[in-house]
């Protein structure tokens, strides 16, 4: 298997009230194609910052990230946007659907951005796959939290991403609904052969991934293969 994400000696500092604050220190990670990885750790440990940097949403203070064989640092904003649009999928804790777009329009968006016409068919298929056939023309405000996250799942997979970043995907959902969304996410991931990186507090969710990276105070404190993941899935 080939490397899909390579993080080398990554550091991230912020200025907080005039003082430098080190959020991530000397992070090194290699993630191979098809892996499922959970990044866990207490609040403020740098999980979300790490994810933002890996997904080409931000620039590190130092270090290098190589995503799908492309070094991110030299890319300008437009090149990063293109990279995300073609190869990256996202799922957020607070769903992040565009409130003025219907469910199908939200799902089609990544393909439309690529200039693909006739994305409706694929979008409907994906919405059917996540059980929202009857909600195609509903606006986000007309959907429940679980339904909104399922639309977000459909949107995340419509561009057949090589890598999917999920930030606390079930964090805003109740137990049953969360479980439902989780299983849909893993199923779709398997079907599309996508690399999955989940940022979570939830040990149960983390235990379903093949590898768990633990962060504490901006440093990796453990990076282990989860041999029980196949049993869980």
């Amino acid at each position: 298997m080939s490397l899909i994400l390579k993080v080398e000696d990554l550091n991230m500092n912020y200025n907080s009230g005039g003082r430098p604050l080190s959020v991530l220190q000397s992070i090194n990670i290699n993630i191979e194609e098809g892996e499922t990885v959970a990044i866990t750790g207490p609040s403020g440990s740098g999980k979300t910052t790490l994810m933002g940097l890996c997904a080409a949403l931000d620039n590190p203070s130092s270090g290098e990230i190589t995503l799908l064989g492309t070094k991110i640092s030299p890319l300008n904003e437009d090149e990063r946007a293109k990279l995300r649009n073609r190869y990256v999928g996202f799922i957020f804790q607070n769903f992040q659907l565009l409130p003025s777009l219907t469910a199908i329009e939200n799902v089609m968006l990544p393909l439309e951005l690529q200039g693909v016409s006739g994305a409706e068919k694929e979008a409907v298929q994906l919405l059917e796959r996540v059980g929202l056939k009857d909600r195609v023309t509903h606006y986000p405000s007309q959907l429940s939290g679980g339904e909104q996250q399922r639309v977000a799942l459909a949107r995340a997979f419509i561009n057949k991403p090589k890598i999917l970043f999920a930030d606390e995907p079930t964090g805003n959902l109740d137990g049953d609904t969360g479980a439902n969304v989780e299983s849909l996410m893993f199923d779709l991931n398997k079907d599309f052969g996508t690399t999955l990186i989940i940022v979570t507090h939830n040990p149960e969710l983390a235990s379903k991934t093949g590898r768990i990276i633990k962060l504490k105070s901006g440093q990796i404190v453990s990076d282990v293969k989860n041999i029980l993941s196949n049993i869980a899935n």
Binding site: T48, E77, L98, L101, L113, R155
Partner: protein, 843 residues
């Protein structure tokens, strides 16, 4: 799918559920453009009409007029024109209406010849426009006939003669409706005027000579070659071109005010556009971040919203133009009493095209300022809602937009004011105000952060802290409210200064009746008559008419040929009406020099002058002043200068001789009295007109009433136009405060959630908004006072006198409105459960 059609589709989809949020944006554009189109349309139509009607308004190709008959040699020159001639004598007089046994103050116009050569005298029946020219016939103003129930065939007595009314006069040539309400016009022929007995020494008569030349004759050239000759005379020689220029100049004041309203509406519209788009983009920040996260390029995200704003802006501009077209049809109706021409109520294509382009360009440029910020919205917002966008060092695009705004404002203001200098001054004032407001708000934030009182209660501390906490909108709000206040208050201050300058003196205890043209031998009988009505003789003044022949050692002819002459022509050429006394009247103050009595034959004659007249003549104490007193040359010296109070409506004299010099000169008398009520006034006036037909009775109460009516109309129009700016200003205020709504909402919800009472939330918000309102409105008012001072002094060239109560009232109102709108924005938090509000805002 092509890139652009995707952007169009996304722009459409994104706007679908948000159009109401752009209502403020649309309103700003609509109001600004409507005012611009309406005002410019009216101005262009007025100018076009004046140019078209100038010949009709003058009634001839050339007119010469003055307050004394033209000298024979000048008349000879004028008569050498290959032209058809006419003559007019005009005076204010009393008339008597036998049908109602009432008297009426009139403007008598006696005509000889076929005047007007251009245009027609509007008469009913139309034959009356000719029939008044022979015999004892009169054409009488229709309002006067209506007022006294007169019909053609009735009689009216003017001076000693009874005239037959031949018809109704629709409007005197070139006159303004509002003026005729003071003294309605009556046309008669010149031969009849002689027999009225109204022409007496001292009668105030305006003499006019009219000429119609063949089309091939260049009257402008003819006049230009005799310019110096006419300059030394008191005759005013006017051609059609001069009339156009004079009329345009006369209406420049109205034009100036209307332009000011248009500029204010436009500037407020600009602020409104910028702040409402800023609110919109702020509410869209998360959507933009998500689009960026999904792979939309910064430029594409910018274009999505640029397309939305451009299309809505275009719609707003079109609606604004249509509203302006409708509105412009109202302006000529409002102003009809003040215009000498009937202004077309069709929209001017030039105004429409200008309004469209100016409106659209301004909308796009001012929208671009907040829109370019979209490029800086990071996709990281999707992960962290409190993410702060990183500011790049220099945003060249933003600076390019500032440059474009600066250039376009200069061009538009240049178009509006017609002066590049004025345009630069306006833009400089805006820039300085901006810097001042932005600087002050930064200072405020620093000071509050450092010195916020620790011993104040939670409410005050919380309210004030909101002003400097992260993501505060203090600077934006202070700049927008402050700028809006400054622009609006400047307009209101200037409005009150303009109104004050046209308003007249109070009626109070002043004399209300002046009788002039009294021959000396009639004086004792007239005084008897006055006393029989138990009326006081407040003033009894002799008046001698004379001309100025020279000053400071040179004759008038020498001065007129001298290009370095600093004296004003009007002062040197006027027929001087002079009195003699050795005292200072109640309305005067001796500001320099003294009053020197005449010691008898051989002694030098010392006169005193009014300060205004002395300034106009550029003479001072000790200077020589030579008069021609009805043929006799009289050398005098200036011994004192008097400041004359113009608040009193009694007689006032620029030149006062000592007693003993003019006592035997041909003169007439003026008597000033005060009548207690209308009945006495009417009876007394009737008795005077009957017994002394040559005496003119000027009833100041009626004139004051008419002038007040005119002033009321003027102030109504000014206020009507100011409503535009007020409405746009209100939109700016709402937009500015809505900016802060998004910031405060979540904080207030959180406070509510952890148990803050409704009362506490209200007080916290009220503290914040009251402080913001006070500081921004205060600074805005300060800027307004300074800017209106400069405009009044240097552009309007009027006295700057500000009444502080209205200014204070404006300030308090703005603070109150700020607090009310701020509270209105927080009503959801106050009245609904926190979660409901959050859900609503998120959707």
């Amino acid at each position: 799918m092509s890139g652009f059609s995707f952007l169009l589709k996304t722009a459409y989809r994104d706007s679908r559920r948000n159009r109401a949020k752009l209502a403020l944006f649309m309103s700003s554009i609509i109001l600004g453009v409507a005012a611009l189109v309406a005002i410019n349309s009216f101005n262009y139509n007025l100018r076009k009409e004046i140019n078209r009607e100038a010949a009709t308004l003058l009634g001839a190709d050339l007119a010469a007029s003055g307050n004394r008959p033209a000298d024979p040699e000048i008349l000879q020159i004028l008569d050498s024109l290959p032209a058809e001639k006419a003559r007019e004598m005009e005076m204010l007089s009393m008339s008597y209406i036998p049908k109602t046994d009432e008297t009426q103050f009139i403007r008598l116009k006696a005509i000889e010849g076929n005047f007007p050569f251009y245009g027609k005298i509007k008469a009913d029946p139309s034959s009356a426009a000719q029939s008044f020219r022979t015999g004892r016939s009169a054409l009488v103003d229709e309002s006067l006939m209506l007022q006294h129930g007169l019909i053609p065939g009735d009689s009216i007595k003017i001076g000693k003669i009874m005239f037959e009314i031949k018809g109704r006069l629709g409007g005197a040539i070139g006159s303004i409706g509002a003026v005729s309400s003071v003294a309605p016009a009556i046309y008669i022929n010149i031969e009849s005027l002689d027999s009225t007995g109204l022409i007496q020494p001292g009668s105030l008569i305006n003499y006019a000579y009219y000429y119609k030349v063949p089309e091939s004759f260049d009257v402008e050239k003819w006049k230009a070659s005799r310019k110096i000759l006419f300059r030394s005379e008191s005759l005013r020689v006017e051609t059609v071109e001069d009339r156009k220029e004079n009329l345009n100049q006369a209406f420049s004041f109205l034009n100036y005010f209307l332009n000011l309203v248009a500029i204010v509406a436009l500037l407020l519209g600009c602020i409104g556009v910028a702040s409402s788009v800023m609110i919109y983009i702020k509410s869209k920040a998360n959507s933009i971040a998500l689009l960026r996260c999904l792979g939309m390029r910064p430029g594409q995200a910018f274009l999505v919203y640029f397309i939305q704003i451009s299309i809505l802006g275009l719609a707003g501009v079109i609606i604004g133009v249509l509203a302006g077209v409708i509105l412009q049809s109202v302006l000529p109706l409002l102003l009809k009493d003040f215009l000498p021409v009937q202004v077309d109520i069709s929209a001017s294509p030039r105004a429409i095209i200008e309004g469209f382009f100016v409106g659209f360009t301004v909308t796009i440029l001012f929208s671009l300022l907040p829109l370019v910020g979209i490029r800086k919205i990071s996709p990281l917002r999707t992960l962290r809602t409190s993410f702060d966008e990183e500011e790049s060092k220099i945003d060249y695009l933003r600076w390019a937009i500032y440059g474009a705004i600066f250039t376009s404002l200069i061009i538009f203001l240049w178009l509006l004011t017609g002066s590049i200098m004025a345009a630069f001054i306006y833009v400089a004032a805006i820039l300085i105000s901006y810097i001042l407001l932005a600087g002050l708000s930064m200072l405020l934030i620093r000071l509050l952060r450092k010195f916020i009182p620790t011993n104040t209660g939670f409410i005050t501390k919380q309210g004030l802290s909101n002003l400097f906490r992260p993501d505060n909108q203090t600077q934006t709000i202070m700049v927008t409210i402050g700028m809006g206040t400054a622009v609006l208050t400047t307009l209101l201050i200037l409005q009150s200064i303009l109104l004050n300058n046209v308003s007249l003196m109070d009626e109070g205890k002043q004399p209300n009746m002046i009788l002039y043209g009294i021959e000396t031998h009639q004086m004792s009988d007239l005084k008897e008559l006055t006393k029989s009505y138990k009326l006081p003789v407040i003033q009894e003044v002799p008046v001698v008419t004379m001309k100025i022949d020279g000053w400071k050692g040179k004759s008038k002819i020498q001065w007129m040929a001298d290009s370095t002459m600093t004296s004003k022509r009007w002062a040197a050429n006027r027929e001087a009406r002079v009195t003699y006394r050795d005292t200072i009247s109640d309305d005067e103050k001796l500001v320099s020099g003294s009053i020197r009595k005449y010691g008898g034959a051989g002694d030098s004659i010392f006169v005193t002058l009014g300060t205004t007249f002395a300034e106009a003549m550029d003479v001072g104490i000790g200077d020589e002043l030579v008069f021609n007193v009805q043929g006799t040359r009289m050398v005098t010296y200036i011994s004192g200068l008097r400041e004359i109070q113009f608040r009193n409506l009694s007689t006032r004299f620029f030149i006062v001789f000592p007693t003993g010099v003019l006592d035997e000169a041909p003169q007439f008398q003026v008597l000033v009295t005060k009548t207690p009520d209308n009945t006495t006034m009417s009876a007394y006036r009737g008795a005077v007109v009957k017994a002394f037909p040559n005496v003119s009775v000027v009833d100041l109460t009626t004139i004051l009433q008419s002038v007040n009516d005119i002033l009321n109309k003027v102030s109504f129009i000014i206020r009507f136009m100011a409503i535009f700016s007020l409405l746009t200003g209100l939109i700016v205020l709402i937009s500015s405060l809505t900016l802060s709504k998004y910031q405060r909402l979540k904080e207030s919800i959180l406070l509510r959630t952890i148990g803050a009472t409704r009362n506490q939330i209200v007080r916290i918000n009220a503290t914040e908004y009251a402080f913001l309102g006070t500081l921004s409105a205060g600074t805005g008012v300060g800027i307004a006072v300074i800017s209106s001072f400069f405009v009044t002094k240097f552009q309007l060239e009027l006295e700057f006198a500000i009444s502080w109560w209205p200014v204070l009232w404006i300030m308090v109102s703005l603070i109150l409105i700020t607090v009310i709108i701020g509270m209105f924005n927080s009503r959801d938090v106050i009245n609904n459960p926190p979660l409901e509000v959050l859900r609503k805002e998120d959707s």
